[in-house]
């Protein structure tokens, strides 16, 4: 498969009177990890929702060129606000999501078992979600996003609510997915963590791309945080 998995070109979106996105362009290629950064209200979640197809852009295009996967959903998505079915069992919820992603019952059950083991939740498989801690529920949702071997994985604020140990687990999962050739788009505020795994960075400010480039394009004398402060914050240090 050649070319990017997703090409976002000159995308704009207005909600009410607010221009949330203004001519945003970037690509997500196989094995790439694109970090989507920006202050609150920069338009990251709207952009993520456009990329996964939950909403459409008012202007511009989003081209998805995923490898063909018979009957399977090629996108794994972790939304910013998380809930799932609180009264349902962990394994039942994950099997339901896996089946909706196009896996057979047997494939679903096998993958769910593997992913629960990967995120250290195997002993809690038969518990109801409401019986889990917030961090454990986060990991269930993370497993749901990775289920079904999607080509593109979109994670909106994956570190929110996680302790350092579990944040480390997310970093590992992202690296493993990237090594397996998947494209990842990760929206996050934790710059130190993002710096560990991103191959490309897109900084949004007031709906526009304030800076975009490969990880190695960041000047050697600057940290990601300095770059962010310079471009995302009005009047930030240049």
């Amino acid at each position: 498969m050649h070319g990017p998995l997703v090409s976002v070109a000159f995308v704009s979106r207005t909600l009410g009177k607010n221009r949330v996105l203004d001519h945003v362009s970037f690509d997500v290629s196989s094995a790439a990890v694109v970090g989507l950064l920006g202050p609150n209200g920069a338009g990251k979640t709207t952009l993520v929702r456009i990329v996964v197809g939950l909403t459409r852009a008012d202007e511009g295009t989003v081209e998805r060129r995923m490898p063909p996967m018979t009957g399977r959903v090629p996108i794994g998505y972790l939304p910013e606000e998380r809930g799932l079915y609180q009264n349902a069992r962990v394994d039942a919820v994950l099997t339901y999501v896996a089946r909706l992603k196009g896996l057979s019952r047997v494939e679903s059950e096998n993958e769910v078992t593997q992913w629960l083991a990967r995120v250290d939740l195997q002993p809690l498989a038969t518990r109801r979600l409401e019986q889990l801690s917030k961090g454990q529920q986060q990991k269930v949702q993370l497993a749901a996003a990775f289920l079904g071997d999607p080509s593109l994985i979109v994670l909106d604020e994956p570190f929110s609510g996680l302790d350092p140990l579990n944040a480390r687990l997310v970093v590992e999962l992202v690296r493993e997915a990237s090594a397996a050739g998947k494209g990842l788009l990760v929206s996050a505020h934790q710059l130190a963590l993002v710096e560990q795994f991103c191959t490309e960075i897109v900084i949004l400010a007031r709906g526009r791309v304030a800076w975009r480039g490969a990880r190695q394009d960041i000047p050697a004398d600057r940290s990601l945080e300095e770059l962010f402060m310079a471009h995302a914050v009005p009047g930030g240090a240049a």
Binding site: L15, T46, L54, I75, G83, L84, N87, L100, A144
Partner: protein
């Protein structure tokens, strides 16, 4: 299509194993049967009281003191005292024991009717032969009732109007309740999924229309389970309530079709309502409007059952939101033709499909509206 059935299976299993569903499915029929038994017992007591009624006395003015003694000793229910000029003026007085209660006026009316019968006998018997007096006093004693259908066929009418009305009302109320309860579950589920953002995960995997259709099908299955439990309770545990299901198989089939179509329509409307409201309270308020509209025919039960082919009955039958309960009422009274039943149900199904399509659009729009 495969994903639609996965959603249906999920909705069905998560609903029927929910504690609230099991509690409602078991408790509501028990509650209704309890009420029916209580009502039946009350009616029995009232009937027994009526049978044990004491006589009333009709006396001349000079016999008044004797009448007062009879009343005090509880040997009579009432003493009617004729004034000296009774024949010319119709004047008389009545004495009863002091009583309180809601139905006093009905007792008074009943005593008055008994007194009138006795007075007629007393006035006529000196002048007419016995049988003629009896006929003048009670012109209708044994009435056989028949119905004539549109083709001129004549049938004996076995049901009393009250039983007919109760059967139709009971059936309509039972099925309407189930429709509203089952579709209400869908509306609540939609609100919850919107609020906890599960919808976003689902909508990445499945389009809104099959998602909603799957939910409607899954919860329809749960609704049928509920009705099944209801009927099982009725048949097994409440002989009095059997009048509700003591109907011909064709009527049961037609009622089941109305229930199915009614559920589908209201599930689609409630799904849209769940997608439209910004929270549980707002959605519940909108849902109340649908429930009032849906139950509208029950407010017109008397005119609809007395003349099932009236303009009102037909209008409510051909208006999709009121069609299910209007048809259920009219089926109970045998006033709806197969063609009208099929036509109205087809129109209601078309309205349901339209409601589902609008709900799917709303769902996508409001899910996205949360994006910032």
């Amino acid at each position: 299509m495969r994903r639609l059935w996965i959603v249906a299976g999920w909705e069905f299993t998560t609903t029927v194993f929910r504690v609230s569903f099991v509690a409602t499915a078991l408790m509501l029929p028990l509650l209704h049967i309890g009420l029916a038994l209580l009502l039946g017992h009350s009616l029995k007591v009232v009937t027994a009281d009526a049978r044990e009624k004491k006589p009333i006395a009709i006396l001349e003015g000079t016999e008044e003191p004797r009448g007062m003694v009879m009343l005090r000793e509880n040997r009579v229910d009432a003493v009617f005292v004729l004034e000296p000029d009774y024949v010319e003026t119709g004047r008389l007085r009545v004495y009863t024991r002091l009583q309180t209660g809601l139905f006093q006026f009905a007792d008074g009316q009943e005593r008055r009717e008994r007194a009138e019968t006795l007075l007629r006998q007393r006035l006529l018997s000196p002048h007419l032969p016995g049988p003629l007096t009896a006929r003048v006093v009670a012109p209708i004693e044994n009435l056989e009732a028949f119905t004539v259908d549109r083709d001129g066929g004549i049938r004996r009418r076995d049901e009393t109007p009250l039983a007919l009305l109760t059967g139709a009302f009971g059936l309509t109320l039972l099925l309407s309740l189930s429709i509203f309860m089952s579709s209400g579950v869908l509306q609540q589920a939609m609100v919850a999924e919107r609020q906890n953002r599960v919808l976003e995960v689902l909508l990445v995997c499945i389009k809104p229309f099959p998602l909603l259709a799957g939910k409607v099908i899954g919860l329809a299955g749960a609704g049928l389970i509920q009705i099944g439990i209801y009927l099982a309770f009725l048949v097994a545990g409440a002989p009095m309530a059997l009048t509700l299901v003591d109907v011909p198989p064709a009527t049961v089939g037609a009622a089941a079709a109305c229930f199915g179509v009614g559920y589908v329509l209201y599930a689609c409307l409630m799904a849209g309502t769940g997608a439209l409201g910004r929270g549980t309270q707002e959605s519940a308020q909108i849902a109340t409007v649908w429930m009032v509209v849906g139950a509208l025919p029950l407010f017109f039960i008397a005119p609809m059952t007395s003349d099932g082919t009236s303009v009102l009955a037909r209008a409510l039958t051909w208006f999709p939101p009121t069609a299910p309960s209007a048809l259920l009422l009219r089926i109970g009274t045998g006033s709806v033709s197969f063609m009208e039943l099929s036509g109205a149900l087809a129109l209601t199904l078309a309205a349901a499909a339209g409601a589902l399509a609008i709900s799917a659009r709303l769902l996508r729009r409001v899910t996205i509206a949360g994006a910032r």
